[in-house]
Symmetry: C2
Subunit: 320 residues, 2 copies
DNA sequence: TTGTATGCGTTATCAT
DNA sequence: ATGATAACGCATACAA
């Protein structure tokens, strides 16, 4: 009972503190966890490295670790993917953690099912199909894509392309890819435009390749591109430059990507930020509430960062 | 004693297994850790997110998590930096882990001192000044930079620039930055060349800015650039393109960076790979040996990936 | 081969 | 206000 939960006289308190100082005593986290029933540790399920990890995700991992540290909690990593299922299994089965944050949540997610079954508190990054049933923190991809299309429509664009995340993620019903596609198609119909949607891998070369295809195969080509694929964006910019397509004179370009990444380009790419730090902080705090106050309502945090024009959107060029 | 350490008759084994199945029993990791004295967990000290994290580092974190998982171990994150010292303190002080992997090791590193003091097994990524005193996994930056300079000298280059990691890391005596600089200066002298060394932040814009300075301020400008700064490389390439400098016709460019990153450029950048996966695996296995066989010699793993020319090095242009 | 008791280092609950 | 003691859930050593 070293940690001040008891009424202690000043004298004895002094004495104890002195001994603690001198002997360099530190309580054992393991023993405390066993006795107290809480590990002061959160699990973080990260995407497999076999897929291309993006800077956004790294920043998020760091943000979670730092936010957890701010609340005196540690973070236990659990790589997901076929080969590493056992880690997740250990984490939840052996109760190594008080709660879990799940990255790259799918609309139908087996990990979420397992967590519900085990009754372990958790927060997902991105919503599942049963979004009312658990806490989540998500980015409003649908709203942001809709806004992008609306802006472009207002500027007179009639042919717009969406460069989405990898097809594999769409197939596995990855929320952001799924919702971006859905919102894009609806917005295109609403504004009576011609929309094209393509997937690119999370890598530059794929983004470049897809862009070349958009410019070459489509007749006439789109006058604006919207993308939610951070890594592909680099390739898009490179391909446009190679093709001597000047932004925004010949083509408008908007992206949902981390602000740091958007501003690293020349010109800086307009669009909305993926606020990784804020998402990490929100996730940790939501999880903490689930753990300490299970009776409180679930947290549903839908972040909608402002759209920042940075000069990469302009009026549609006179038709070809 | 569920885990096969005891001689059990087949009959009772069956019975136990059946009950385990039916009741969904799972041993508690915490209780086991307390009784057995080992947590089956490794700590991983990551750089602060306030600095620009690079893809290399993210891949390394993932690689460590996956390598640890392959040996039935989990990974506990510890963000380093002023504000988060408490996390590290908890990790080692309260013995939440069996061992620690330290990223971004400095030549004089307080965390290493602490770990030695505590007698906790650990492996550093990069060497400290007392490299014989502990296990480490490092990349041979000195050797790779030397090879780059030697190659360029053989091609007739006489003015070569090194774009290093941020000045801040040099000031704090960060090994890779330190050794790259040292090796560069020695190689330049050995081949009787004119060398220029500059630091760039870990971001594109800084790389571009530094490159513009090299091309503009130096008269005559260098005919070759060597860099160990992954993020700055993007800026270097962009600045060269803007300045209409054609690689390798006008200038040779070599980089030590992750292969994935080097190949994402057009043209692909020649140089040496930063083998993050291999480093992660080596670090985990070295740490595992320290934990299980403390009497065995320390592991000193110096990785020296092959230099891969990819067409960005050519003969020195006829002098201006 | 099998049952039983004690210890791991805390927290929490009793009496005092 | 303080001291003693029982859990916490498992491993291990010792009896049986």
């Amino acid at each position: 009972m070293l940690s001040g939960k008891r009424q202690v006289s000043e004298a004895i308190r002094e004495r104890v503190m002195r001994v603690v100082e001198e002997s360099g005593y530190r309580p054992s986290a393991t023993a405390r966890a066993l006795a107290h029933g809480s590990t002061r540790t959160f699990g973080l399920v990260i995407p497999p490295t076999s897929e291309h990890l993006v800077v956004e995700q790294l920043r998020f991992v760091g943000a979670v670790a730092e936010a957890a540290a701010a609340h005196d909690h540690d973070v236990l990593l659990s790589p997901s993917g076929e080969a590493h299922e056992s880690t997740f299994d250990r984490m939840v089965g052996e109760r190594r953690v008080d709660g879990v944050i799940v990255m790259e949540t799918m609309l139908h997610d087996s990990r979420v099912a397992r967590l519900i079954e085990e009754g372990l508190p958790f927060v997902t990054i991105g919503r599942t199909g049963a979004e009312e049933a658990h806490s989540w923190v998500d980015l409003d991809y649908a709203g942001l894509v809709t806004e992008a299309v609306t802006r472009l429509a207002a500027l007179g664009h009639e042919r717009i392309a969406l460069i989405n995340r990898p097809q594999r993620l769409l197939d596995r019903e990855y929320g952001p890819a799924f919702r971006a596609l859905d919102a894009f198609e609806k917005a295109v119909v609403a504004h009576d435009l011609r929309g094209t949607t393509v997937c690119a891998e999370d890598e530059e070369e794929s983004g470049a390749e897809v862009t070349r295809r958009l410019l070459g195969a489509l007749v006439p080509p789109p006058t604006a591109i919207v993308t939610v694929n951070e890594r592909a964006l680099d390739g898009v910019v490179a391909a446009l430059r190679s093709a001597r397509v000047v932004v925004p004179r010949d083509l408008s370009l908007l992206a949902v990507t981390s602000e740091e990444h958007a501003r690293a380009h020349e010109p800086q790419i307009g669009g909305a930020d993926v606020p990784t730090t804020e998402m990490g902080r929100n996730a940790v705090e939501a999880l903490l509430r689930r753990v300490t106050h299970p009776e409180e309502p679930l947290a549903h945090v839908l972040l909608s960062p402002p759209f920042l024009p940075r000069g990469t959107e302009g009026p549609a060029p006179a038709s070809a």
